[in-house]
């Protein structure tokens, strides 16, 4: 049997369908199979890219022509203690599996991304954050420990206390140092399946940021939706959502709201349109003509219909808004989309973001949806975090605008670097090779390469992102 077998060849894409390449996909169910895969790949001269649910907007889970190890079949919950909220899972367990397993016991993942489909291995590799970054930090800060298999053959057990280098390296390491084989997390105690949400409209970006700043550690969740097609004095107008967990006793019937079926998103919209086909209804609006109108409508409704509304919303509805519309990314059309997210220190953020939004409009490449969040720094090796703000912008990719979009992103990246900003490997698909060292810093990159040489001396773990940004000259 030749290795790799042609039967394994699959066309893989990033989440936005804007990049893709074929790879030989292996789906192990046991750690021994991972060790065998390391051995075969090394013998035959192939590299291995790690992939979870494939929700990265970047090339972080692509490895064209080589092996891709899909971790999703290792998806068992190994240990669960409903008294302490400590859970031990296999790496392919998704955020969805996790909350559905623990919700009725009154526990919730302390940090979740905007969708419930990523695996925990993927979440750790990217060290994801949620809308509660300023209060809760990244997911890595809630990991008590993990076990991993390294390409050098070692099986390691890591905790932040005993093995800080490996712990802070593998989490945030983009799947380039080792394969998680089990993950132990401490969850968040909750007393209701609802959040208390406050929504209001902000007239422009600077106003929005100054309204959000004092709330950054006062409220549990904080996020701003920005209409980035508006210009002039309205540039960056939008809507802020601030949300808090309910305290013990606030929910009169927690047994009701802490049920999976209470949290489950509806199957139809307006009781009529099946949600699985909603993206097709969105598609006609997802272009440079339609999107400004969608944004205007959204802003006007937030300004006049729901300004300073307070309401209860389920944890799932608040956190996983994107999952309301399955395959929403397909509404961007054949070319797909990229998400350009940058993280800028608080001192320079507002000026930089205002300039960046203005630039996208000047270049005729408006971004269709922007999301503003407040962040805090963390200790992880390939960290994207800053004491400041992030702005995520969605751009539609078409056959005709690819080159123009790359040029725009180059300009934006220069502005971000000037402002002392950083980038996020789960999102970035446009950075130039020389830019990685500029935001990570020479020292962090040197330490990453030392760890890489120690854990993976043959360079077995590789992805297209790795070859693009991390393996060039220092």
């Amino acid at each position: 049997m030749p290795f790799p077998s042609l039967d394994r060849l699959s066309p893989l894409e990033n989440f936005g369908h804007s990049m893709g390449s074929p790879a030989f996909v292996y789906r192990p169910t046991r750690a021994e199979q991972i060790a065998e895969l390391f051995e075969s790949a090394s013998r035959c001269g192939y590299t291995i890219g790690l992939r979870g649910s494939g929700r990265s907007y970047s090339d972080a889970a692509l490895n064209g022509g080589h092996i891709v190890l899909d971790i999703r079949r290792m998806n068992r919950v190994l240990e669960w203690n409903p008294d302490t909220g400590v859970i031990k899972v296999e790496p392919g367990v998704t955020i969805q599996q996790l909350w559905q397993y623990t919700l009725e016991d009154g526990w919730w993942p302390p940090v979740v991304p905007g969708t419930m489909f990523p695996t925990l291995a993927g979440c750790l590799a990217m060290n994801i954050h949620g809308k509660n970054n300023c209060v809760a930090g990244t997911i890595g800060e809630h990991v008590l420990g993990f076990t991993a298999l390294l390409p050098n053959g070692d099986s390691i057990t890591c905790t932040p206390q005993t093995t800080p280098d490996l712990f802070y390296g593998l989490i945030s390491g983009a799947g380039l140092l080792g394969v998680f084989t089990s993950i132990t997390l401490k969850l968040k105690r909750i007393y209701s399946g609802n959040l208390w949400v406050h929504a209001w409209a902000s007239p422009n970006l600077r106003a929005m940021m100054s309204e959000m700043e004092p709330l950054k550690t006062e409220t549990d969740y904080l996020v701003g939706w920005v209409d980035s097609t508006a210009n002039g004095r309205a540039l960056g107008r939008g809507q802020v959502h601030a949300a808090d967990y309910l305290h013990e006793g606030d929910d009169s019937a927690p047994a009701q709201t802490l049920r999976v079926d209470y949290q489950t998103l509806p199957d139809t919209f307006f009781g009529l349109v099946p949600k699985s086909s909603l993206w097709q209804f969105m598609r006609p609006f997802m272009n440079n003509v339609g999107v400004p109108w969608v944004n205007i409508a959204k802003f006007l409704s937030s300004r006049f219909l729901s300004h300073h509304h307070h309401f209860l919303q389920s944890l799932v509805a608040f956190n996983f808004l994107l999952d309301y519309v399955p395959n929403w990314e397909r509404s961007y059309g054949r070319g797909g989309l990229i998400q350009y997210q940058s993280f800028i220190p608080k001192e320079t953020a507002s000026d930089a973001f205002v300039e960046m939004i203005a630039l996208t409009n000047r270049r005729g490449l408006p971004n269709y949806l922007s999301v503003l969040k407040r962040h805090r720094p963390d200790k992880f090796l390939l960290s994207h975090a800053v004491d400041g703000w992030s702005m995520a912008m969605d751009f539609r990719v078409t056959a005709g605008n690819r080159a123009k979009l790359q040029a725009l992103c180059d300009e934006l990246s220069e502005m971000v670097l000037q402002a002392g900003g950083r980038f996020y490997f789960a999102k970035d698909g446009t950075l130039r090779p020389e830019m990685a060292v500029l935001f990570l810093g020479v020292e962090a990159l040197r330490r990453f390469r030392e760890l890489k040489a120690q854990c993976d001396p043959q360079g077995l773990l590789q992805t297209e992102l790795y070859r693009r940004l991390l393996c060039g000259p220092a």
Binding site: P2, P4, L6, L9, S10, P11, S21, P22, F24, G45, Y46, G64, G65, H66
Partner: protein
Amino acid sequence: MALVARRAELLNQIADEIKSNGGRAHVYPHDATQFANVPTLFPTILRDLGRLDVIVYAAGVMPAVDLSEFNFEKDKAMMDANVLGAMAWLGPAAMAFERMGRGSIVGISSVAGDRGRILNPAYNASKAALSTYLEALRNRLTRRGVHVLTVKPGFVDTDMLQGAKRAFWVISPEQAAADIFRAVKSRKPTIYTPARWGVVMMIVQHIPSFIFRRMSF
């Protein structure tokens, strides 16, 4: 680009030329009749390229055969290189492209496959087999988004022409390549190169057998 053929030094020359023009080229010395090596070599090529858009099967042999010669060795050599090699390579390519839902498969057949003639029966048979194989691949794969092109050249000025007794309308390999490139871009099913062979072969294909068997053509 991946270059696969027997003579390494010639491959390296072409690779150097591609690289000096800013392209990427990998070289794989291989005899298309070594079928057993293909299952390892094909994924290796995919690995080195990172992706695959087009595969061109251009291997073929045409030893000189006398009018009264019946030589199984020569006949087998033609079937091996012209037909079985194509199946060994295009089978995996078809599988890969089918999975990806895209790509182009190009097979260099020949006008010689359109009729069986007196000069070289096995060559005619091998090219007829290749043309039919490609047609069947096309019928299988079009619905999967894969393009299959059958190229039927007349006389092209390559080493193979030394075995041909009479040659006319000879075109350069560059000219043939340009025709093939255009056909891949426009996803044509079949082309003759040069195109006038299409007219000629339409007539030839309709000559009734009782006349055709008396012709020395």
